[in-house]
């Protein structure tokens, strides 16, 4: 197997710019390994003819000034790709071929990237282990029978297994950062509104954000720069100038104040995670940062709030799947209503149904104030916790997840134990803040663990810098042995 595809995105871009490798050769290296890695089940759809054709076009007239010159990339199957099946991991959209392109993927293609394929994910991005996908479980390349996390599980697995040099996911409650942590990769959830949501299959619109998943912090800055930007087609898109995250990346973090929230030391957290957190603190301290203890008192209410807000928005967003305009339609039913009921019953999986029912209930007449309005109020308190502390600190350091990757089937019997996976990531979505998960070490099983840096609104550059400085001094090395080949 070629050594080239093991390299980071930034190194691969350099090789292309120095003309040491052509786009087509590179594409063929990835295609070859994807074909040999079906066991991981990280791809739902491949489009290799398109990839080769586009890479040939690039090689004929290479634009080397773009951010991602001739780089083949696979993306989460939640981004609509014009002419290529977009399933959202659901039977409902098994044969759906969008007639338009999502803004974020369009931005990547404009910077020279080329689509390799669509990556597996939890159904409608609802899940933390990639076990709810209609297209089957994804395997974590770290170890057999182990989940890659979710919902961007296919993205994390493909990235860690060198089946794409970088990728993008979406993060509603931790769906980029948790799988990044489980696979020893970097994942960033941007500030709500930085990346356009247009053309992304909707889950919970006030929480959904697209973001990069990469092998290094530098790669992450390149990808974010390529995908971010104002978009008229998304009414929540923030109007601001494009930033040069990769050019402005620096390791000098002297004098920065890093907050350590005491509420993130949860009960039954493995000792290794606590140790890793301490290691993170001491690395940043040695680099000249001030470590400051802080309190985010409403942290424990973030998950219960999330499990009202997200299902409520999901039940409303997923009302569009009625078997009429696109997607699956049941052949059973005597009238229109029965057709709707059978279509949705046959094509949605158990977790999606569960969340639609929760959402429908909390929004239903007589219960709205007790649940939905209450959750919106607590969401305000959670946001306030962050607002108050960001007067005192520049960034917040926490573990990314309360455990390392778990076994397939280990948590599927109990929805709450699955939901608890997102305990450290969910508050960030509720507050609309940016956060990055960066690999920090291995547990005693040899499975990777990540640390999370949370930043102020639109302060992506700052958390990228801290993560960059941390990465350079942490000496993390992923140990993936290609056992599936």
């Amino acid at each position: 197997m070629s050594e080239i595809i093991k390299k980071n995105l930034s190194e691969i871009i350099d090789l292309i710019k120095k003309k040491e490798i052509k786009s087509e050769e590179l594409a063929n290296l990835y295609i070859d390994k994807v074909n040999k890695s079906k066991k991981l089940n990280s791809y739902i759809t491949t489009c290799f003819e398109h990839t080769i054709q586009k890479s040939k076009e690039f090689d004929k007239k290479p634009n080397l000034n773009s951010l991602l010159p001739g780089v083949p990339l696979a993306v989460k199957d939640l981004f609509c790709t014009n002419g290529f099946k977009t399933t959202a991991g659901s039977k409902m959209l098994e044969n759906f071929i969008p007639q338009y392109e999502s803004t974020v993927t369009e931005n990547l293609w404009k910077e020279g990237a080329i689509l390799l394929g669509k990556l597996n994910c939890d159904e409608y991005a609802m899940g933390s282990s990639n076990e709810t996908s209609y297209f089957g479980n994804v395997i974590n390349p770290i170890a057999k029978d182990t989940v890659p996390g979710g919902s961007s599980g296919g993205s994390a697995s493909a990235l860690a297994a060198d089946l794409t040099p970088a990728t993008i996911g979406t993060d509603t409650g931790g769906s980029i950062r948790q799988p990044a942590s489980f696979t020893g990769t970097v994942g960033l959830k941007p500030t709500y509104g930085l990346c356009s949501r247009w053309g992304i299959v909707a889950f919970a619109s006030s929480l959904d954000q697209a973001g990069p998943m990469t092998k290094s912090v530098k790669d992450c800055s390149i990808m974010l720069e390529a995908m971010a930007g104002f978009d008229n087609k998304d009414s929540t898109s923030i109007e601001k100038k494009k930033e040069n995250y990769s050019k402005n990346l620096k390791t000098d973090i002297k004098g920065l104040k890093i907050g350590i929230p005491k509420e993130y030391r949860v009960e039954n957290m493995p000792k290794e995670i606590d140790e890793l957190w301490n290691k993170g603190k001491s690395i940043l301290k040695d680099l000249g940062a001030d470590i400051i203890d802080i309190s985010l008192p409403h942290t424990k209410y973030a998950l219960p709030t999330y499990y009202i807000v997200a299902p409520a928005e999901a039940s409303s967003n997923l009302a569009r799947y009625d078997g009429v305009k696109y997607g699956y339609r049941s052949s059973k039913g005597n009238d229109l209503i029965e057709m709707y009921e059978n279509t949705r019953s046959e094509a949605f999986g158990d977790e999606v149904k569960r969340r639609i029912l929760i959402g429908t209930y909390v929004l239903s007449s007589g219960y709205y104030d007790a649940y939905y309005l209450k959750a919106q109020k607590v969401r305000q308190l959670i946001k306030k916790d962050f607002d108050e502390n960001f007067g005192k600190v520049d960034a917040i350091l926490t573990p990314s997840t309360p455990s390392s990757a778990f076994k397939i089937g280990e948590k599927t019997h109990d929805p709450i134990s699955m939901y608890l996976n997102d305990i450290f990531t969910v508050p960030v979505n509720l507050a609309g803040l940016p956060a990055i998960s960066v690999p920090a070490g291995l547990d005693k099983k040899g499975y990777p663990l990540g640390l999370q840096l949370i930043g102020k609104t639109l302060d992506e550059q700052n958390i990228l810098n801290v993560a960059y400085a941390f990465e350079k001094n942490c000496n993390f090395k992923n140990e993936i042995k290609n056992w599936w080949l």
Partner: protein
């Protein structure tokens, strides 16, 4: 709040998802435990708290009421599970 089979029947009707009675038992159990978890929020007094409906500091942008695409009827119809020339087809609703 405990969720029983009758409640599942009522919500699934509202959500237009048919649920068979076998599934409805396990759903009732799952939803009961989820609601127990959610109801931790009742520990908090939120009488004086403003609900947060948008995380953005600015109001939603309104766009100019201008047509910027169109003539894509056939493309849209391509993904329809059942169509008849330029129409979506649904089961008969009027006798």
């Amino acid at each position: 709040m405990s969720i029983d089979k009758d409640k599942i029947k009522h919500i699934s009707k509202l959500a237009r998802i048919s649920i068979d009675s076998k599934k409805s038992d396990s759903l009732a159990k799952d939803l009961t435990s989820i609601f127990k978890f959610i109801e931790q929020l009742n520990e908090l007094n939120t009488d004086k708290v403003e609900p947060l409906s948008s995380i953005l500091n600015t109001p939603l942008r309104a766009r100019e009421d201008k047509i910027n695409d169109g003539k894509i009827r056939d493309k849209i119809l391509e993904n329809s599970p059942k169509k008849n020339e330029e129409f979506f087809v649904v089961p008969k609703v009027i006798e």
